[in-house]
């Protein structure tokens, strides 16, 4: 496909007036003439044309009806509700087809770019969309079986008093009683006193909290140890009356006792996120709200955060927790590294057609770097089965060849600031030409500032946050034709454009400096190409071929990375290296290059949903320690190495939550709430969490919101059933491979299969929301109740939040049109099966006010989706993405350099470089040592298209596709061990020599699986997929109220290998980690297989 083709396909040339504007075409009133015209050229509109055909079916049905055949009611728009899939986290738009209130079929929402390519025009009337539907993956298709799961809980259950956690004995208790017990505590289980939430709700005065928070900030920013101690003493004096509200007055920076309540989650999306965070933060006043990011693709996010920081107000800040992925539909050449486009990732329905059509129809090519011959590799031009953990080395090799052969985009890289980029017609720019000071030991340090060499004095500039105050702006420096020139990264006037020299290694005014690109080049030249290739276990010639291809298509080449790159001990630097490689051709924001995610806002516009009548002010150290260790008073106590690692560059360190509770580091925890997560199952070495969760001494109270008794929630004290994805609200957001601005809205499609409860005097389905509101009511938390959203604005029902959020969405940027009468009719009729506590037109309408018709318009389409044409735009230099990152991309990170390891106290490196994988926190090569001990195979894991984590083993249709997983190994490895296909082997690792899960309740689950001997995996590597080997979740019997609920054997087949994944010698109750990016590590464990 040529650029012109992309344009022909996607860009309506006539209407393209102002390219800086978002391209939502939402005017339904355009004349027929212009409709025809654009219809001929614009994909979105043309797709709409096709969708109009939905209309005709009615005639067909009618014709049939005449012959006595029965109608096909599933096409009737009033039997369809548009919502969002949650079978995996991609969040594809779906349409749920209903028959007598029962969801009977799920298909793709044609308005959503996840399921149609191009997707249908947002303005297409929903009445005409009955017959239009897009593609879904098999999990999306089988979603009915997730919701209609016989093992779903429908009552609140409590661990049977007198039985231990994990004992499998439960009693049901009324919702109100559960709320009361959790809030008030007492001898709840006949094993002694359990502190309730009220006890931890110690600091309730926001004014005091605010004052304390400020004082703590002062303590933390004090660098001098003595002065720091002094400040602590002052603190104790100032707040003498309130010290009992603190966890430890000796360490006020740990924060108030409120922090001893921890909210954790696995899968939490916007909407519920606002709910949950409001509760724990503004409401309860705890800093401990932590998600699962690091078990997922942590280092991608946190490298992305590092790379997206901007220099604002004299500081590096504002980086988003986000990352880039490739626009595979338009690329000419892609390197796909540890990223499973067709089987996993975000997500197959969106990315697959783009790639298959692009390759087969347009001749694009791609390379797959994966130790396993994945289904993606099966379609690749080349498969590079690199050694797991060597991804960084591979990137450095490509970088080396490209730089040494001058095949990078010099024009792009030399642009040192916004103005230069703009002259280039580039949306982004980098620090490739900026000068970095070189330390005495030769390591790169901070950027050179213009004032340091007397080039330009500091300037006082107004703060962006407060125009009345100023800060000192110090210019950066680049060489232009060998002469130092000051650089203001954000200068946007053409005359301030700086195009710097790219490869600089010199001294200026006695200061040794290198350019950013030079540092990267040096890093890439640390080894020869052959040496890099050897680390990867690949041929150097293949690497050269790939590097040449990658630099042969201008901006339309790209490297796409995912978990296989990030979930290593060297994850952060792997990711950094691959993004740096992309930066060499400057493909950010280009069609066929890298995409930055963009969504519509849901939090404000109509009503700021983060506002509350009174806000608590949480402060203190998080249990997972997402701040600089050196600032904390614990540093004074413990020094290096810290007892557990600190993560100033990351958040949501999932693997730290439970083990930190176990170690009471940095402080003990009183209560853990877990929502839709299963750390025991999901985490590498998740078994280490079991002993902690089982122990009421370490964790006095453990409450879960879960639809099932799962692998982790089986250890809970209380489980609150939840509404599942077809029954509830969420705003699913987007992913970095979606070039369009979107915001899919999950909204109730079927009547919840859980009963109603009463909270704040209102009926609502038993759900996460009911649990949170119930607790808030009992505790009297601010931000909830009759004035939850401010005087006279109640927050006593989920609708109070979610309808406001939809209204916000409806008016973000260009507001959507009003739904007409017909749309409103369809909307209400389609929801006729929903009960009052869930759907009530008057109630919803009264919350939405005047925006009601817009709310309907959005909900009728299952969210907001920018039109296809908005995703791309023509520029003088070619087709770029419609939604841009459009800023500086940090290929040299001063902030990262400024951060020290809490283990060694050393500076981190601020640039792409190769770090070997398989290291422990203290830096030792554990994989090599283990290999020496006879652990001769490297264990990796991956997803099969037909399973999602710990929560789709109930999908019997999917079990037909794949009833169990297996131990995938190279046939040669199998033969060498005397194994044949189907043999059972046990997986044994250095930190799990028994090769089993010890459930702590007398039951063990062996990590034994069937060998599948294939050619498609690198010898020396074995792989076991995710989603099988359950020991709870309906696969084992449980007893409730004395009734034993038998197990379904189908749900427990296969094996789950996470307990084999290695723990770190420094923190033996925790998996290996990437100490910088925070990733939990899945691919760096050496194991042995034993025939059973």
């Amino acid at each position: 496909m040529t650029e012109q083709d992309i344009l022909n396909k996607y860009t309506p040339p006539v209407e393209q007036a102002d390219p800086s504007e978002s391209q939502d075409t939402l005017q339904p009133g355009i004349s027929r003439r212009s409709f025809l015209k654009t219809g001929a050229a614009a994909g979105g509109t043309a797709a709409f044309l096709g969708s109009l055909l939905g209309f005709r079916h009615i005639q067909a049905v009618q014709a049939q009806a005449a012959e006595g055949a029965q109608p096909y009611p599933l096409l009737d728009p009033t039997n369809q509700i548009y919502t969002v899939c949650l079978q995996c986290n991609t969040g594809c738009g779906i349409k749920v087809k209903l028959l007598d209130g029962v969801a009977v079929k799920i298909d793709g929402n044609p308005y959503s770019p996840m399921t149609m390519n191009p997707h249908v025009d947002y303005a297409a009337p929903v009445a005409l969309m009955g017959a239009a539907e897009g593609g879904l993956c098999p999990k999306g298709q089988s979603g009915l079986q997730t919701v209609y799961d016989p093992y779903r809980l429908v009552s609140v259950v409590k661990r049977k008093p007198g039985t231990p956690r994990g004992g499998g004995e439960w009693v049901t208790i009324p919702f109100e009683q559960a709320i009361e017990e959790i809030v008030e505590g007492g001898d709840l289980f006949g094993e002694g006193y359990v502190p309730g939430l009220r006890e931890s709700y110690a600091l309730t005065d926001p004014t005091v909290a605010k004052a304390m928070a400020d004082a703590v900030k002062a303590i933390q920013s004090e660098k001098d140890p003595d002065k720091k101690r002094q400040k602590v003493a002052e603190f104790q004096e100032t707040f003498a009356d309130h010290l009992d509200a603190l966890i430890d007055p000796e360490h006020p920076d740990l924060g108030p006792k409120n922090n001893q309540v921890v909210f954790a989650w696995g899968r939490l999306k916007a909407g519920r996120s606002e709910f949950y965070r409001r509760w724990i933060g503004q409401g309860f006043g705890s800093v401990n709200a932590h998600g699962h990011t690091t078990v997922c693709q942590g280092s991608l996010y946190f490298t992305g955060m590092g790379m997206s920081n901007q220099y604002v107000d004299g500081k590096w800040s504002g980086g988003s927790k986000a990352y880039w992925q490739a626009d595979l539909s338009n690329t000419r050449f892609a390197i796909i590294v540890g990223s499973s486009i067709f089987e996993g990732g975000y997500g197959p329905p969106l990315r697959t057609p783009g790639l298959t059509e692009n390759t087969v129809d347009n001749g694009a090519r791609f390379v797959v770097v994966d130790p396993r011959f994945s289904k993606t590799a099966a379609k690749a031009w080349k498969w590079l089965p690199a050694v797991p953990g060597s991804e960084g080395a591979l990137a450095m090799a490509l970088i080396q060849w490209i730089i040494n052969n001058g095949r990078y985009d010099a024009r792009y890289l030399s642009a040192a600031n916004r103005a230069a980029a703009a002259t280039n017609g580039e949306p982004t720019w980098t620090e490739a030409a900026w000068l970095v000071k070189i330390n005495d030991d030769g390591t790169p340090g901070k950027f050179l500032r213009a004032s340091e060499i007397g080039l330009r004095e500091k300037e006082a500039r107004p703060l962006s946050t407060d125009e009345t105050k100023t800060y000192d702006f110090d210019y950066f420096v680049a060489l232009v034709d060998g002469e130092p020139v000051p650089v203001d990264p954000n200068a946007d006037q053409p005359e301030n454009a700086v195009f710097g020299d790219l490869l600089v290694d010199t001294e200026i005014e006695g200061v040794r400096v290198k350019s950013g690109l030079q540092i990267i080049a040096d890093s890439a030249n640390e080894k020869t190409l052959e040496a890099w290739a050897e680390i990867c276990g690949l041929n150097a010639s293949d690497l050269i071929t790939v590097a040449r291809e990658f630099t042969s298509y201008g901006k339309r080449a790209v490297a796409d990375i995912h978990r296989g790159v990030s979930q290593h001990t060297n994850g952060f630097y792997n990711v950094f290296a691959w993004y740096t490689l992309n930066a060499l051709i400057g493909n950010f924001d280009w069609a066929g290059g890298l995409v930055w995610p963009s969504t519509y806002s849901v939090t404000s516009g109509y009503a700021n949903v983060n506002d509350a009548d009174i806000k608590n002010v949480p402060f203190g150290t998080t249990i997972i320690r997402t701040e600089a260790y050196e600032k904390n008073t614990l540093f004074l106590r413990d020094g290096y190495p810290a007892r557990r690692n600190w993560y100033p560059l990351a958040t949501d360190i999932y693997q730290e939550i439970v083990p930190s509770i176990g170690d009471a580091y940095p402080y003990p925890v009183k209560a853990l709430f877990l929502y839709m997560g299963s750390p025991v199952y999901a985490l590498p070495a998740g078994h280490t969490n079991i002993d902690i969760l089982r122990d009421p001494q370490k964790l006095p109270l453990f409450v879960a919101s879960d639809a099932f008794i799962g692998e982790t929630t089986m250890y809970a004290d209380y489980i609150f059933p939840d509404t599942m994805y077809l029954e509830r609200w969420e705003f699913h957001g987007t992913h970095p491979n979606v070039p369009f601005r979107i915001q899919p809205v999950r909204n109730p499609a079927i009547d919840p299969l859980v009963p109603d409860v009463t909270v704040f005097g209102r009926l609502m389905p038993l759900s996460l929301e009911a649990m949170l509101l119930g607790l808030a009511e009992r505790l009297g938390l601010p931000g909830f109740g009759e004035n939850g959203f401010g005087a006279g604005k109640p927050f006593t029902h989920q609708d109070d939040l979610y309808i406001r959020m939809v209204a916000n969405l409806a008016v973000d940027r260009e507001p959507v049109p009003d739904a007409d009468e017909e749309e409103i009719r369809i909307f209400t009729e389609a929801r006729r099966h929903l009960r009052r506590s869930v759907f009530d037109v008057e109630r919803w309408q009264s919350i939405a006010g005047d925006l009601w018709p817009k709310v309907v318009y959005v909900l009728n389409r299952g969210g907001r989706f920018q039109n296809y044409s908005g995703g791309y735009r023509e520029t003088a230099r070619g087709v770029q993405l419609g939604n841009r990152f459009g800023k500086l991309i940090n290929i040299y990170q001063e902030k990262t350099y400024d951060t020290r390891s809490s283990m060694t106290g050393e500076h981190l490196k601020g640039y792409a470089h190769y770090v070997p994988a398989g290291t422990g926190l203290l830096g030792d090569r554990l994989d090599e040592a283990d290999a020496g001990q006879g652990f001769d195979l490297r264990l990796i894991t991956y997803r099969e298209i037909a399973q999602t984590k710990s929560r789709t083993a109930s999908n019997y249709w999917l079990l037909g596709v794949l009833p169990e997983n297996f131990v995938l190994m190279n046939a040669a490895d199998a033969a060498a061990r005397g194994l044949v296909e189907g043999d059972l082997v046990r997986i044994v690792s250095p930190t799990n020599r028994a090769g089993e899960w010890d459930l702590g309740n007398g039951r063990t689950v062996p990590m034994v699986g069937k060998v599948k001997a294939v050619q498609g995996i690198r010898p020396g590597v074995i792989a076991v997929s995710l989603g099988f080997g359950h020991w709870a979740y309906g696969s084992a019997p449980v007893t409730i109220n004395g009734t034993t609920i038998p197990a379904d054997e189908r749900r427990g087949r296969g094996l789950h290998i996470n307990a084999a994944l290695r723990t770190d010698p420094h923190t033996p109750n925790t998996t290996l980690v990437d100490p910088v990016g925070g990733s939990a590590v899945f691919y760096d464990t050496m194991v042995r297989v034993e025939k059973v």
Partner: protein, 310 residues
């Protein structure tokens, strides 16, 4: 205390009055969209007008069908074909193995659409590994019914319960079929399976008030399927299609309603293509003329209507 969920209100079926109402609605929306001067058109008139415009749009010079998702392009073509008499169309399916990524979405979509019970599958996807490390290939071959031009499954049926319809689809007459399963043995592609009467959740626990239980959980499995334009609820008892042989029918009920087969719309590789081979302008007509086309077990002379691109 907890209260139990309200029962589902009955009656989602379309009756004629609903029909007219929705027609009126559609007309209205269409008219609004086209910015016609008067909104209060007589519904019938609006529909007619809209239809005419639609025609014009579809066949208009310069309408780039290529700029649609291929799904929508095929749907447009499908509508074109539906305008012909059944005997004039020749439905074929083209499966581009280069684009098939072995996701099995088609398998599951088909199961969901047709409410297939355990033991019945219309479109499995066969996976195979070929080669030796590091030169490996994986092949994914979806296998719907080939809708053979010479279907060996048809003449063996003792009661004429399976036959080729006017459009070339090998159909079943569930009420007629005696369940002898001869056709199953006769199909060279194993494209027919037997409905033994199971449901996926049968045998799962029921425990009122504690867990959802299989009695509620099977509601989607019990809901009717719409095969052959009829409604077959799967009620306790042994009425058809339980006891019958079953097979892929190119989702004829969807085709007649202006939709592509379920396996086609859900295909994430856009590897499964569908249309009227008698329409020279259709995508499938173009594809089955390409040199890299093949059919399964062609030596048997079955003349499949399913083509594979390799």
């Amino acid at each position: 205390m907890t209260e139990s969920a309200s029962p589902h209100p009955p009656g989602a079926d379309l009756n004629r009055r609903d029909f007219l109402r929705s027609l009126a609605g559609l007309g209205g929306a269409a008219v609004a969209l086209q910015a016609l001067d008067q909104l209060a058109l007589d519904p019938e008139q609006a529909v007619a007008r809209y239809e005419a415009q639609l025609q014009e749009l579809i066949y208009a010079e310069g309408t780039h069908l290529e700029s649609l998702d291929v799904l929508e392009r095929m749907r447009v073509e499908l509508h074109r074909a539906l305008e012909k008499s059944p005997a004039e169309r020749r439905w074929v399916m083209v499966i581009d193995l280069r684009k098939c990524v072995g996701c099995h979405a088609c398998t599951v979509a088909c199961i969901a659409e047709n409410k297939l019970p355990p033991g019945v599958v219309y479109r499995p996807v066969i996976e195979e590994e070929i080669g030796t490390y590091p030169n490996v290939a994986r092949r994914f071959v979806p296998r719907p019914c080939m809708q053979c031009e010479n279907p060996p499954c048809v003449p063996v049926c003792p009661v004429n319960a399976t036959y080729t319809n006017e459009e070339g689809i090998v159909e079943m007459n569930y009420e007629r079929c005696i369940g002898c399963r001869y056709c199953i043995t006769a199909c060279p592609y194993s494209a027919r399976t037997a409905d033994f009467g199971f449901t996926y959740t049968q045998g799962n626990a029921n425990a009122d008030g504690l867990i959802l239980g299989s009695d509620i959980a099977d509601s989607y499995e019990r809901a009717p399927n719409f095969e052959y334009g009829k409604q077959y609820p799967r009620q306790p008892g042994r009425s058809s299609p339980v006891g019958n042989a079953r097979k892929c029918h190119f989702c004829q009920h969807r085709i007649l309603n202006g939709q592509l087969p379920a396996c086609v719309t859900t295909c994430i590789g856009r590897a499964t293509l569908f249309g009227d081979a008698n329409d020279p302008d259709s995508l499938v007509a173009e594809l089955i003329a390409s040199p890299n086309v093949m059919r399964l077990r062609e030596e048997l002379g079955t003349e499949p209507r399913v083509y594979y691109l390799v």
